[in-house]
């Protein structure tokens, strides 16, 4: 049941805390986002630094890096995704339990970065899996990763549990399988997943 924001603040001033099931549920989810323990390239070093005492990712409830996708909520694509590695990354994302989130860390994970012209580098992991937060940088500072985590927490906080705009895991109709690409003759097959990444229209004049 929806209630007025003003009334809630007024009650809070009088020492009465009012919440909704949705807020409570999302508060629990965003406060224990467990990342998956895997690094791809140099960004992984920054990711490791973020978990250590100086930057202390534990402040946000995300310190428990799980070595198995079955126990992880969040995947940090920390570095260059080569075409050799992309099928494994997509398969690991598939094997994570719902609800799952993805942070694309650094220029390479977003677009291929400085290696975009390379024949063996995937030009952005969002061609195959849905990315929730992109962080630019080469590599991004640990503060940027923390910012991404806070952004993700805000996103989780705002997700409605019912009706339009609810996340995939609460939609019984939505499918949870993301096809794993295979090594083709010249490129990965298929080169992208049209369900998550509509191929941009190229106009040659």
């Amino acid at each position: 049941m929806a209630f007025e924001e003003g009334l809630k603040i007024e009650l809070g001033k009088q020492g009465v805390i009012v919440t909704s099931l949705q807020e409570l549920y999302n508060w629990g989810r965003r406060s224990s986002v467990w990342p998956m323990q895997f690094g791809l390239a140099c960004c992984a070093i920054e990711m490791i630094a973020t978990t250590m005492a100086r930057y202390d990712m534990a402040r946000f409830g995300a310190e428990i890096f799980r070595p198995s996708p079955r126990q992880a909520d969040m995947m940090i694509i920390s570095g260059t995704v080569t075409k050799k590695m992309a099928p494994q990354v997509v398969r690991l994302y598939n094997q994570m339990a719902e609800p799952k989130y993805v942070i694309a860390m650094g220029a390479c994970a977003i677009s291929g970065g400085p290696f975009k012209q390379g024949y063996n580098v995937l030009k952005g992991i969002d061609r195959y899996i849905p990315v929730d937060v992109h962080i630019p940088g080469c590599p991004p500072r640990p503060e940027a990763l923390l910012q991404a985590l806070i952004t993700l927490q805000k996103k989780i906080d705002g997700q409605p549990l019912t009706g339009e705009g609810r996340p995939r895991f609460l939609d019984a109709e939505a499918q949870g399988e993301f096809p794993v690409p295979e090594q083709g003759e010249h490129d990965l097959e298929p080169p992208s997943n049209p369900a998550v990444w509509p191929v941009p229209l190229t106009i040659n004049k």
Partner: protein, 123 residues
Amino acid sequence: MASNPYFSLAVLFVAALGFGLTPLGLAWLWGKVFSPAKPNAIKNAIYECGLESKGDAWVQFRSAYYLYAIIFLIFDVEAVFLLPFAVAFTGLGVSACLAMLVFVLLLVEGLAWAWAKGVLTWA
């Protein structure tokens, strides 16, 4: 029943058991009722660091590895027992000495076996 001196222990034991099992049960119930399961073939596949698993996971190890187990027992586990044996040697009774002797002799037999098998020769 309540007059039994062990009654309070039994109560504590049941409480401890409930303390451990209740969260497990609740987690199981939560998983059954509320968890948003979206199973598919890729998700249910064997986890092998992102690679496709090849063959069966129930493989048998070669029995020849027992030699490593013997060597490990002789040179690692035996040392753990020999040290306290040596420290307490002067105050030991006959039966303790005999038990230790049997243990050491068994391992010496293993050493002789491994030696005869040629495990101790490198290159």
